[in-house]
Symmetry: C2
Subunit: 206 residues, 2 copies
């Protein structure tokens, strides 16, 4: 698949087919793609946790649902800040997370490698997560980058035996989507870019 | 370009040709690709700052060089933690940042959109940055995701009139690379992935 097509059509797929499994080979492919993401000084701090075990997924779903119930409140309080279909599919995901064939969690040791502050560590994790999402799209697999679990991260770490020094960054359900691929809506570039100084609208002098 | 080829061959290109300009059209293309990245609740908090002005780039280079001189110390103190070619090309970049045809800075309002903690905001910025890097690669443009400027972020914000409530996430020089495209070295997947529990090596039960 062309790289631009992959980027344009990778949207969050929160409704996954519980009855169609994902092959180990495809899991390897998306993780190999994830490994190619850039990390500060090529320190590669990420560890990828791949969860297929049913009981473990069920335990994660319980925590995730609690987190999402808290996480959706700000949206409820400010109607219009989020599209209704995003909210309803996020609800669906929270209710059905354990039915995703695979859940991938991106972890990293806080301060792994030389000179990596917590803040700069994020820059060494999420680009690789995006590679994973794009590779999955190219294979026809749906994903969603979620972070709701961070509201109860300690519980998630306990479930997965993740050591204290390790931080989790994203929880990504992976499976075949039940919906169609399509382009997500975005604001026009000229409204979200500036040239040379903050506030000068558009990416270039006109 | 195929999405997998793009991911495999997008490596940090820190040596850029100062004499070969980047077209406005290509800048638009890589930013349009960046816009397609996922953001929590599709809140799209990112603002893209595109810098071409020579004086502004020079001012940024001075700050960046100071930051890099601090940022490289941990690597000096722990020889072997970073590959010598990475260090020397990073030195080159710090000395020549102002000669990059374009510098892109990814910014976001802290807490923009509903329910976005600082920590979860990172997850709504860096995936889009990765789209930018991949799109640039497909166009033959070299980039590097850098965060060294965060060590003196306030000075950078002052140079660019960035308001206090706004945070910068990445500074990305863009230009035609003088070196060759190639695959960056990565640890084997089976060493950096676990299945079902932390510590169970490999992405699947074997």
């Amino acid at each position: 698949m062309d790289v631009f097509e992959a980027m344009w059509t990778t949207r969050s797929m929160r409704r996954l087919d519980p009855d169609r499994d994902v092959s180990d080979e495809d899991v390897r492919t998306i993780l190999e793609a994830a490994l190619r993401g850039p990390t500060g000084g090529n320190q590669q701090p990420i560890r990828w946790l791949v969860i297929r075990d049913a009981e473990t997924k069920r335990a994660l779903q319980k925590v995730y649902l609690r987190c999402w119930e808290k996480g959706r409140k700000p949206y409820e309080e400010k109607p219009g800040t989020v599209a209704p279909n995003v909210l309803s599919s996020a609800d669906h995901l929270a209710d059905n997370l354990h039915l995703a064939p695979v859940i991938v969690i991106a972890c990293a040791c806080a301060g792994a490698g030389a000179g990596t502050s917590r803040r700069r560590q994020d820059a060494s994790v999420y680009p690789s997560v995006q590679n994973l999402l794009l590779a999955a799209r190219a294979l026809g697999l749906g994903t969603t980058l979620t972070t709701a679990h961070l509201l109860e991260e300690d519980t998630v770490k306990e479930i997965l035996d993740i050591p204290e020094r390790v931080t989790t960054y994203a929880l990504i359900p992976v499976g075949y989507p039940t919906g169609r691929w399509g382009e997500a809506k975005r604001r026009p570039l000229d409204e979200v870019s500036y040239h040379d100084r903050w506030g000068r609208l558009g990416p270039s002098v006109r």
